[in-house]
Every structure is written in C-alpha cells, then in structure tokens.
C-alpha cells in the first residue's frame, strides 16, 4: 500500500449519496472522514415521506445505514462542519481545513428533552422547510442522528439561559465558538446534493404568489407523519382538504429560461404524490399536466398503476399560467403540438420543480458542466456522487455513490 492509501478518504455531505459512499468505503476497511454541514445525517431524503415506486419510508434505509455507521469504527463523523479551504499536497492528496459550527449542545447531551420543556422561544423549523415554528432547542425530528438536540442560537431570546439551567448534564454552552481543524486526506468524494428550484422564480405559475401553490418537496412534508400537519394534506389557505389537485410537471425544467435539463425524478415524484393524495382523499380529483411522462425502467409499472387509478388524469400540456380567482386556482396549459389552450381549475397546485446542484461553497474548484453539475477530476483525486454529479433518483444516486467510492479508493494505488 502506498502512503496515500493510508490516509483517509474525505466525504463531503451525509445525505443518501454521501452516507452510502462513506459506509461502502469504510466497509472495505478504509478510513473515512464524513463531514456534514447540517447537525443531522440524511440530507434531503430524510425529509421525504416515501420513495417511489415502492412507497416505502426513507427512514427504513436510514435506520440500517445509521446502524452501519455506528458500528463502524473506521468512520469519523463531523457534523455541522464544512470544508473551509483545501490545498493540494503535490501527488499526496489534499490538506483540508474543516470548520465546525459552535457546539452549543455538546456530546454530553442525552436527548432527555429537559431543555425543550423550558425553552420560551421559537424559530422557523428548517427541517420542515420553514412550514412551521419549533422550539429553538429541540430534537430535530424523530430518528434524527446523531441523537443530540440542536440549538438555533440566533433565535434565542436575549439573555435567556433557561435551557442551560434546566439541563441536568451540563451539555449546553451558549458561549461556544466555532472550531477549525486541518486534516490530510487521500481523495475526496463530493456529495453536496441539491436544492429544489425556487418556486419564487416561477411567478407565472403562481410560485410565491398564492398560498395554495406549493412545491413538490413541500408536499413531501405535508404528507409526512412528522410534518407540519402530522401527515394530513391540506390547502394552506384554508386548512381544509383539497378536492382538485393539479400537478405542474417541468415547472422550470426543460426550459432554457430556467433549468434546461430534465431532473429525471419529478414525473415519478408527482405520480407518487398522486398516491399520497388518493390514499388520504379517495374522492379528490388529481390532474397531472406533463410534456413527457418519464418513467424509465421498471418504473413503467408505477406509471401504469397510477394511470389506472380512478380519479387520476394525465393531460399532455405544458402549463404556462396559474392564476387565482375567488379562492380557486386556474391552470392554463398549452399543447405545443396541437397549439390548443387548456383551462382547468384546482384548489391545490403542486409545482414539480427540478433539482439544482449545490455549488455555493466549493474550495476544491471542481470542473462543472454547463448545467452546474460537477464532474469527476480523477487527476486531482476528486470524485462527485449523487445529485451533485447528475440529476437522478435515490436508487441511481446511491448506485452512483457506490461506484464513485470505488474510484476514490483506487486513487494512489498502482493501476
């Protein structure tokens, strides 16, 4: 083994792809450092209700992966940590500077909950996409790992130290400071994920203008048992169940004004969402406006299942406009081939927005394609996994993350 392969591999991001990469490499026997900017693992998928096409909960796979992670001594996990700077060490990998956010709640926390009981302040619940308020100090969500409470320091009431007084384990330090550490790694797997295309950029589709126009990722939260409505799908404006739900496919996707590419998952996500709606509201009418129904592979079976469901309609047409009249939403779609305009009403409109790769912080200077997806740079020992690399569904991201891990492991070996 060369010197380089004695160094750990750095994985940036502990969502579905990063977690997979870290576990798969560590289970071959390699040392791994996993850094995640959030205080919990799981990334985007931890905030999904179910996966298509099995309609199974993401927490089930995360459970197994959490057990694997806890059991594996070769993975060092650094939460609330970002790569601040990175420097190439000649041919010997990278030296990275890692910055960890202030540890207001330390590892003495037992998750007993005494602090939450006394906390007088609330803040926007970011794990619920800001759809509800939550105590400033709290368990992020059920099954969150690590099992440690989080404190949103900026939202504390001034001078308040109720939680400090209440904590039986001296686990809260309101004066904590951020910390830096330098680390030498052999290669890097970037799995920094994605964010949904902002609906505010789609005002013509009602995004950000009407309360009953929501995004597909928001619907995931409304459908989740640990979401803002306890898993009940409601119209945000009235708090009542919707009777007519319209899904707008390619909202900002396959569109040179927004995202020119196809995210490859939104069609299937909306089909899954149609099931969420029909499961709770069997009488509701669901209409899916689409350009092409993209359900590759065995997902075709899922499309057939949805299409056979009573009260679910597929309508070919690109939605150009969503307006509100007397509390009802009006959806206007155009069929490009036929040149005909379609008008439909709905009381809840779900914009199927695409995935945008996260790229704000990139100390490695990764090469990117025209759409902003990062490309492997094997000569510099940089490999990209998951949606940071290409838009894909969870199964594909996880598969790719496994392959990417192999590439990262091969760095520094005689080939």
């Amino acid at each position: 083994m060369s010197q380089l392969s004695k160094r750990p591999v750095l994985v940036v991001g502990a969502g579905a792809a990063g977690l997979t990469a870290a576990l798969e490499m560590a289970e071959t026997g390699r040392e791994v450092v996993l850094v995640e900017k959030e205080p919990v693992i799981g990334g985007r998928v931890a905030r999904f209700h179910h996966y298509f096409p099995k309609l199974c909960p993401p927490s089930c796979g995360l459970e197994i992966n959490t057990r694997r992670l806890e059991r594996n001594p070769r993975i060092q996990v650094l939460m609330s940590t970002r790569v601040k700077a990175a420097r190439r060490d000649g041919d010997h990998g990278w030296t990275v500077m890692l910055e960890t956010e202030p540890e207001y709640v330390t590892d003495r926390c037992t998750a007993c909950g005494a602090c939450t009981e006394v906390c007088p302040a609330t803040c926007s619940d970011r794990f619920n996409l800001g759809l509800q308020e939550a105590p400033v100090i709290r368990r992020p969500f059920p099954h969150a790992w690590p099992e440690r409470f989080i404190l949103e320091r900026d939202a504390c009431a001034q001078g308040c130290h109720e939680c400090v007084d209440a904590c039986p384990y001296d686990a809260i330090n309101l004066d904590a400071a951020s910390s830096l550490q330098e680390m030498q790694v052999a290669s890097v797997v970037i799995a920094t994920g994605w964010h949904p295309y902002p609906v505010e950029k789609l005002p013509e589709l009602g995004g950000g203008r009407f309360p009953d126009v929501i995004s597909n990722v928001e619907l995931e939260r409304f459908a989740s048992a640990d979401g803002p409505t306890g898993g009940v799908i409601l119209r945000p404006s009235t708090g009542t169940p919707p009777e007519k739900v319209a899904f707008v496919q390619c909202a900002g996707s396959r569109d040179i004004k927004h995202l020119p590419y196809c995210s490859g998952v939104c069609c299937l996500a909306s089909m899954k969402h149609a099931f969420y709606v029909k499961e709770q509201l069997p009488e509701a009418e669901v209409t899916i406006f689409y350009i092409d129904r993209r359900a590759p592979g065995r997902n075709e079976d899922f499309l057939v299942r949805v299409a056979e469901t009573k009260g679910v309609r597929f309508v070919k047409g690109k939605v150009g406009k969503v307006e509100e009249r007397d509390g009802t939403l009006e959806v206007t779609a155009e069929d490009a081939e036929e040149g005909k305009l379609l008008h439909e009403t709905a009381d809840l409109v779900v914009l199927a927005v695409g995935m945008v790769p996260e790229k704000e912080e990139d100390p490695f200077g990764l090469p990117r394609d025209d759409d902003g997806f990062a490309v492997n740079d094997p000569d510099r020992g940089l490999f990209v996994a998951g949606v940071a690399h290409r838009p894909a569904d969870v199964a594909t991201s996880i598969r790719d993350a496994t392959g990417t891990s192999a590439r990262a492991l091969a760095v520094g070996r005689r080939s």
Partner: protein, 749 residues
C-alpha cells in the same frame, strides 16, 4: 455468560419514574452484580462499565438505560470479549408509561429479568479465520465487465475477466459512436470501447479469458472454486467474489405483429441502423437506395404488456444519437420520430434538444398501429392516438425500430425447480407425483441449459431473478443487495441502462465485490449486519433432514449432502436467523442469538395470577422497523398498554415457533409479532423473513384451534418504519382483544 453486571441508569427521568433499588434487588437475586448510575453515557459512566470488565468482576453487561438504538458508539465493547444486552428503559418504559405506576415498575423489572436470563444463555461469538482468495471474477467482457475489471484491479485486486465470445467489447463492439457519458451532452461521443480494451489488456492485474465458459462454481465468498473451459482446455481458478456483467440483447421485435420486421426488408432495428452508420453507407436493404425519409418507431415492443412491459430507458436517447448522426453524415435525410413519451432524463435532455433543432427532424407523438409496404417501394406507417386527428399515417423509405433490452440472465430458482422436477420424474414414488413433476418440467423446460454461473448451490445455479428476469436488487436504498452473497450483477443485466449508468454500476459492483472479500478476511458479515461476527451453529446429531433451513435461507447459504443434511457455508451467511426460525428441532443457534436465549427471556417474564387481572403479552418486534417505530412513538410521548413485554428480533423470520409455545405454556395470554411489509414491494431486509413468519404463524394458529385455544391470541402485523403513530394503537388493540378473550387457560399449569 457467567459474571453478569447489570447497570441501571437513573438519568433522563428513569430514576424518578422507577424504583431502581427494587430493580437492583431483583438483579442481585438473580446472581448478577448491579450498579445504579446517574448517567451511564457520561465519561464517568462508561469508565464504570469498563472498570468492571477490566478487573474481571463481570464478563458481560446488561445496560438498562436508553434504547439499544441510542448511544451505540458510547456503549460499544469488543464483541469477542464481552457480550452486551441493552434494555431500553427510557423509551420503552419511562417515556411511554406513567411514572411511579406499579405496571410501569413491573415492566421495567421484567425487562431486566429477561435480559439477565438471556445473558445467561449467551456465548461469545468467535471470529472466522479462513484463507481468503483476493481475485475478483468478472463474467462478461463488454463495457460493464471491462469497467468492473479495471475497477477491481484499481482497488488492488487480481481479476479474471471471462468472456464467452472471442473478443472484448460486448454489445457496443464495432460502434464508432455511443451516447455521451460526460459533458458535452448534446452530441454523440466517440466510443470508449477501443481505449478500454487497450487498458484492460495492458493491466497486469487483469487476466482475460476469451471464448471461455464457466463449468462450475463451488464454495463461498472468499473461497469460490471455479472450473472454466476455454480454448486451452479446462482450468481451475480461485476467486473471492464475482461480478456478473453479462449484459442484454435486443428484444426479438419480429414477435411484435404489425411492425413488419422480418417481412418488410426495409424495416430494421436500431442495432442494424448502427451497423449501417458505422459502415458509412446508408442504404435500404431492399434496393440499396439511400433513403430520403427515415421513420423511427419508439417503444417497438416496449411498454407493452404482451412484450416488454418495462421501458429500457435508453432507446429514446439512442434514437436522438442516430438522428444526429444521420443529419451530420447524410445531410438532407429527413427523420420522423414516432414516440409515446420522449424519455431522455437528466443531462441527456441536451441530446434531445439538439435533435429537435436539427433540420429535417420531426417529432410526432403517436402510437404505431402497423407498418405496411405502400407499393411504390416505400412504407406506410399507420398511426393512432396522435394529437392531430387528421394525421393517420406517414410515409417512409426506411423504418428503424427502437427495440428494448432483454437481460442475459438465467433464472437460478427456476432452473433448480426444473432439475428437482426432472429428478422426481425419474425417481418419483407414485405416478401422481411423476405426473405433477412432468407438468413442471414442461412448464420450465425453456430454462434447460441457460445456466451462466453454474453455481453448485442447493437453491440453483444462478442469481435469483426479480421482475422481467433482471437479477436486480429489490432495494432503493441498497442497489447491490444481492441474494447470493459475494455475487453482484452489474450493467444491463441488472436493470436496463445506458452506457454512462453501466459504467458507474460496474464500479459499484466491483466495490461490493472487493468489500465482500475484505469482510471475509476480517471474518465479518456483509450488509445489512455488516461487521457482525458469530455464525450459526448446527447441532447436526439431532437434524432430521427436513430441509426447511436449506430451502428457506434467502441467501442460498446452505447446501445439502446426499441425505439432505445442511452444510453451512458461513461466509455466505448474512446472520438474519431465518434458518434458526425454520428449524423444528431447534438445532440452529447463533452464539449471541439463540432459541434457548430467547426462550429464557420469555420464561423470565413474571406472569401474574389470574385473579390479578393483569394479562401478559409477548411482543416480538423486528429490530429494523417495528422496534425503531416504537422508540419514535415513545420520543413523541405516546403511551401503550403496559402488559406488553417486547423482545426485538433480528428478523421476524428468525422467530422460532417454540417461542410462542413457550409463551403460551408459561401462561402468557397473547403473542404479537410485528415485522416488515411483504409481497412484491417487500420491505424485509432479509427478503422473505416476514413472509415466512406469516406462513409459520398460520400453521401455529391451526394448531391452537385444534387445542381449543383461541387463535386470536396470536397476531402478526406488518408495519413500516415511519408508522410510529400507528404502533401504540396496534398494541392497545391487541391488548383489548386479549382482555376480551380472558386469561390463557394454561395459566398456572
């Protein structure tokens, strides 16, 4: 274990809700040492645990504190030196039941008794130490196989790359251009195949065996012994793990009546057009003329329940590539693409956009009804379900059928059933039996001779296949969770995919192969109980050769000798315990998870006298889904009936029915099993565990009915991991049912 140390944590409200001194007295009466600590997960707490192990006071620990799912890294000890039982007092008792209540106290006391009893039956697992072979066998020398070989070699492992034909390259051989696998995505890319062949051939870790077939593979991960037959004769090879990259072939589209393939000479397949484009000459097969108008028929036999019900996901993009090549190399040629949905997901959308911009390219949404010669040497393509009702047909000089992929797989389980049936036809005991076996033979005859890997496994010679003959993993989260440990399918044989995906898949499967070899060297299990040591032990003197274990193991771990006695291949084992649940003689046990250990737990439950009107219920919960759901319910402050005593199990499939008998004969009033969903969309991490448990339970319920004991006393429920708001209700409702049934009549006997 003999010297059991019980540690009761009084933190997180446990001390306030329970009389821990009373629990301590019970533990001491049972012969354990017992310590109450204010915060076991603190540094001081862990130091206290370590000191009793270090000074030899205890050889095993019962940690009664938070859930076994909490603080795992803090409470981790060397599994070869210490066994640890966790009792989830915090979640399962204190957070979910009223403080200071006698039922809450009884629950805590029982859980501690149960864990002490279990610990008394546990043994230290012993790590396997076997000679492990490093090489990876890669079957198939196409794009996926070559990439997998380079990946495994890149990770430092020797590789045997076996290809049945006389050349490397597979389905992409001879194509100058392929779909883009990297930016820019708006044009065809030069094929990577020639460069890959060169890299494979000059890699000194890779040995290529062309024109070679596998005669047999014996053994287990780390110790696969293979006999192969090549041009130089037979050879014996050793490998640690296997990647199957046997690819796919185009669907035989002549089966799709009406499309004219085979009867109209100018109807060709996409693969045939590729060959034409590669030769640089575009000519109609009928007359050698250059076609002016080419019609592409998408989904030719795909997304069709009579042919291929699935979408191959790659044909639309291939058509775009061909349209672009036509436009570039044969300008002026018109192309009409007849499609149902254009499926170019991800960055391949750019290829579609480029094709749309190409002059002379038309995209028409339609279903093709039929293709017929129109007399003037052209063809008429009849359309339906078009967006423009007046558009009923188009004329073309050449029609290209975009055909889907059919995996080059073999259905190991079907082959095994065929062979078993053939055996019964020859040696059957009665004519009826022979007749039935003959029916199976007739039905499965098509599988004769389709073997690829030729595994000498009781459960068949190849990977089990899932829907549409793809030996895919069923899992979204775990795409490589194969049912034959150490054997991983990759590329188009695993699922339909394009070259970019196949390349990633190859590297992923190679990683899993390397990982399996490395885990075998460490004597550890692979996914999902990765890192686990301690394999099942078989007390074969009492084996009755009933073959349930060999049949029911989802991973094909067990072979049979001639009499039908199981032969364990420990490195194939995934440690789920389904064999343990299957065995009617109870001769299969893990050192740290055994029939007797769980029986001891059940027998440790204190069953109140009938007149106390406090029934007892045993809950056997899958540790992967149901038990975590109950933890989450407790976190959210939900309550459930305090009569229930929960034992987490590795899988419902590991539940031996003797446990139910033990519970009922002990006077326990009801038994509830909660496990993962089964069926087509199963969520059981061991494939069939919860399904097998359901079948076994049905048999038990029949027995109960015969004994005049109500079968409602036993219930099995499916539950998903996120159904934490449902699980307390399930327990409460079951408790109500038991209350209505009245006490178990065997109570007190």
């Amino acid at each position: 274990m003999e010297r059991i140390g019980v540690f009761l944590c009084s933190g997180c409200g446990i001390g306030e809700a329970l009389d821990l001194e009373a629990v301590k007295r019970i533990a001491e009466e049972l012969g354990a040492t017992c310590t109450i600590h204010p915060c076991l997960c603190s540094e001081e707490g862990v130091a206290a645990l370590c000191s009793v192990l270090d000074d030899g006071t205890n050889d095993s620990l019962v940690i009664a504190a938070c859930s076994p799912r909490s603080q795992c890294r803090v409470f981790s000890f060397d599994a070869e030196k210490t066994t640890v039982e966790r009792v989830g007092l915090r979640e399962q008792v204190v957070w979910s039941h009223p403080a200071g209540d006698e039922d809450t106290q009884a629950m805590a006391e029982d859980l501690v008794r149960m864990s002490i009893a279990r610990m008394g039956e546990e043994k230290l697992p012993v790590r396997l130490e076997e000679e492990i072979a490093d090489p990876v066998l890669v079957v198939g020398g196409g794009l996926t196989g070559m990439e997998a070989a380079l990946a495994a070699a890149g990770m430092g492992h020797p590789v045997f790359l076996i290809e049945s034909s006389d050349h490397l390259g597979g389905a992409l051989s001879g194509l100058p251009e392929v779909l883009p696998v990297a930016p820019p995505y708006d044009r065809p890319h030069q094929s990577m195949i020639p460069a890959l062949i060169e890299q494979v051939e000059k890699n000194d870790r890779i040995r290529v065996l062309l024109s070679t077939k596998i005669s047999s593979i014996k053994g287990q991960p780390g110790q696969f012994e293979m006999d192969v037959e090549g041009p130089a004769g037979a050879e014996h090879l050793l490998a640690g793990a296997i990647v199957q990259a046997t690819g796919a072939h185009p669907y035989d589209v002549s089966k799709v009546v009406g499309l004219g393939y085979g009867s109209l000479p100018d109807v060709i397949t996409a693969a045939e057009l590729d060959a034409m484009l590669a030769s640089g000459r575009l000519a109609r097969p009928s007359d050698g003329q250059t076609p002016k108008h080419v019609a592409f028929v998408q989904c030719a036999g795909s997304r069709n329940s009579d042919h291929l019900p699935y979408c191959s996901g790659e044909c639309c993009a291939t058509t775009m590539r061909q349209v672009l090549t036509l436009g570039r190399d044969f300008p002026g040629t018109e192309a009409s693409v007849l499609y149902r949905d254009i499926r170019t997901p991800g960055q391949l959308e750019h290829l579609y956009q480029a094709a749309q911009e190409q002059p002379g390219a038309f995209f028409i949404r339609a279903t093709v009804r039929s293709i017929e010669g129109s007399g003037d040497g052209r063809m008429s393509v009849a359309l339906e379900q078009t967006l423009l009702p007046e558009l009923t047909s188009i004329e073309a000089d050449l029609v290209v059928l975009a055909t889907g992929m059919v995996p080059n797989s073999a259905d190991g389980e079907a082959i095994r059933m065929l062979h078993d049936a053939q055996n019964r036809v020859e040696h059957g005991e009665s004519d009826v039996q022979k007749e039935e076996a003959q029916k199976i033979v007739d039905e499965l005859r098509a599988h004769e001779g389709t073997e690829i890997l030729n595994l000498e496994y009781r459960q068949g010679p190849d990977l089990p296949v899932l829907a549409y003959s793809f030996p895919d993993s069923h899992y979204i989260c775990f795409p490589y969770e194969t049912r034959r440990t150490g054997i991983y399918a990759a590329g188009a044989v695993r699922a339909p995919m394009d070259p970019a995906q196949a390349m990633e898949d190859a590297w992923g499967a190679a990683l899993k192969a390397v990982q399996c070899i490395e885990a075998a060297k460490r004597g550890e299990a692979v996914h999902p109980r990765s890192g686990d040591i301690g394999v099942p032990e078989f007390f074969l003197q009492r084996c009755t050769q009933c073959k349930r274990c060999t049949e029911e193991c989802p991973f094909g771990t067990l072979n049979e000798d001639e009499k039908g006695t199981p032969e364990l291949n420990p490195l194939r084992c995934r440690h789920c315990g389904i064999c343990m649940g299957a065995c009617p003689e109870r001769i299969i046990s893990f050192p740290d998870y055994s029939v007797t250990a769980v029986s001891a737990m059940i027998k440790a439950i204190e069953v109140p006298e009938e007149d106390e009107e406090k029934p007892r219920i045993l809950g056997l919960l899958c540790e992967n889904d149901a038990y975590p759901a109950l933890d989450a319910a407790a976190q959210l402050g939900k309550n459930w009936n305090p009569w229930v005593r929960i034992i987490p199990v590795r899988c419902l499939g590991s539940v031996n029915v003797v446990w139910i008998a033990d519970a009922l004969s002990r006077g326990i009033d009801g038994v509830i099993l909660i496990g993962c969903k089964h069926g087509d969309d199963y969520q059981c991490h061991y494939i069939r565990g919860s399904e097998l448990a359901t079948t076994r339970l049905e048999n038990v319920q029949e027995t109960l009915d015969r004994l005049a004991l109500e079968s409602e006393r036993i219930r099995i429920v499916e539950l998903a991991h996120d159904e934490f708001s449902r699980i307390p209700t399930i327990l409460d409702e079951f408790a109500e049912t038991i209350d209505e049934l009245g006490p178990n009549p065997y109570k007190g006997f």
